[in-house]
Amino acid sequence: MVKITFIDAAGQSRIVEAEEGSTVMETAIRNDVSGIEAECGGACACATCHVYVDDSWVEKLPKAESMEEDMLDFAYDVRPTSRLSCQIRVTAEIDGLVLHTPEQQG
């Protein structure tokens, strides 16, 4: 199993197991990770599964596609490390991924 660490805005961290082929958003929802809402259910249509990728992982993840960049316009406090977790696919390569959830999903 792939392991993903979620660190919330208060610094509380949680490690959850993710199934390969699913998305990081689905993993978060399945595990009740706080700070991820995913209002649209993964259609890349709402920007409420916004996460910040930990600096140590920014270079290792595939880059966001233009649809995701467009949708990030709807998120708040967008940073260079911002991603929508519904667009990050769980693969063996991302085992150990560290993500920070924002204070607010808007």
């Binding site: 209002e39 920007a47 409420t48 990030l72 316009d73 406090d77 967008v78 808007g106």
Partner: protein, 345 residues
Amino acid sequence: MTETIKTDALIVGAGPVGLFAVFELGLLDIKAHVLDILPKIGGQCSELYPEKPIYDIPGFPSITGQGLVDNLMKQIEPFSPTFHFNEQVEQLESLGTPEAPLFRVRTNGDLTFEAKVVIIAAGGGSFQPKKPPVPGIEAYENTSVFYAVRKMESFRGKRVLIVGGGDSALDWTLNLAPIAERVILMHRRDEFRAAPHSVNSMRELVAAGKMDLTLGQMTGLKGEGGELSAVTVKANDGSIHDIACNRMMPFFGLTMKLGPIADWGLNLHENLVPVDTEKFETNVPGVFAIGDINTYPGKLKLILSGFHEAALAAQKANRYIFPDKKVVFQYTTSSSSLQKKLGVG
């Protein structure tokens, strides 16, 4: 006072389930009016995922959100429902009795309906503009901060900051630039989702010195007594500065909120409307809730569940509206009377 629109059934929400309710009611000779807060039919299917395939509609191995809505519109065509767009129900008042319900329904656009049954098919609630989580923004709403333009004239001679990069942001930038003292468009990056010709027009105005474009994100508001004087902005290099303005319009897309349904005297459970599973009726006789907005033991938020709920709610609505009519269950495949209503056979 505008004229009251009298109807058998009022359907709140023009998503797939609301549309299919028109069909099920129509087979029973019940006429319906349909309201939606959006300017178009289709609800989430059209607003959130028009191009995305749905794989769990019975009989359709794959159909897009918009494709499903288009098909439903074709299916309900024989019943010619009346649609009212950009309308949100504000008030629901009971005028009848539990045996013979009658409701007066008022919308934010000053429409008044008298309906024998009300079918809430409002999905995740009403689509409303997303508010930026900037501290204290409520104090400026409707005086200096607007999420939509009702009267363009009210922006004449103002310094208007428009925030966003989509069509709404660009359209209003272009519309207000000639009448405002100054329009400043702010976006988090120098790429825009809006239609390329609007983006080009905006860039021409900037080049001609007729408006400003700035990159950054809003972090705070300054002003007094609801009158905005400046917006604090974090630029992309991390530096903070103020942009002087007395009007601000944020365009951050839409979100779903339950809205005034909460004030209709219906029982609610976690922002959903509890119903029975025989008639999908709420605690108020004559008010039904179908689709994603309702809840009951075992509820699945699937379009197909909403279709089933629409059929059963229509049966009960039939008994309210035509109490003396003999109920005969019929199939569209074999009933000549149903086929006549559908304009086939």
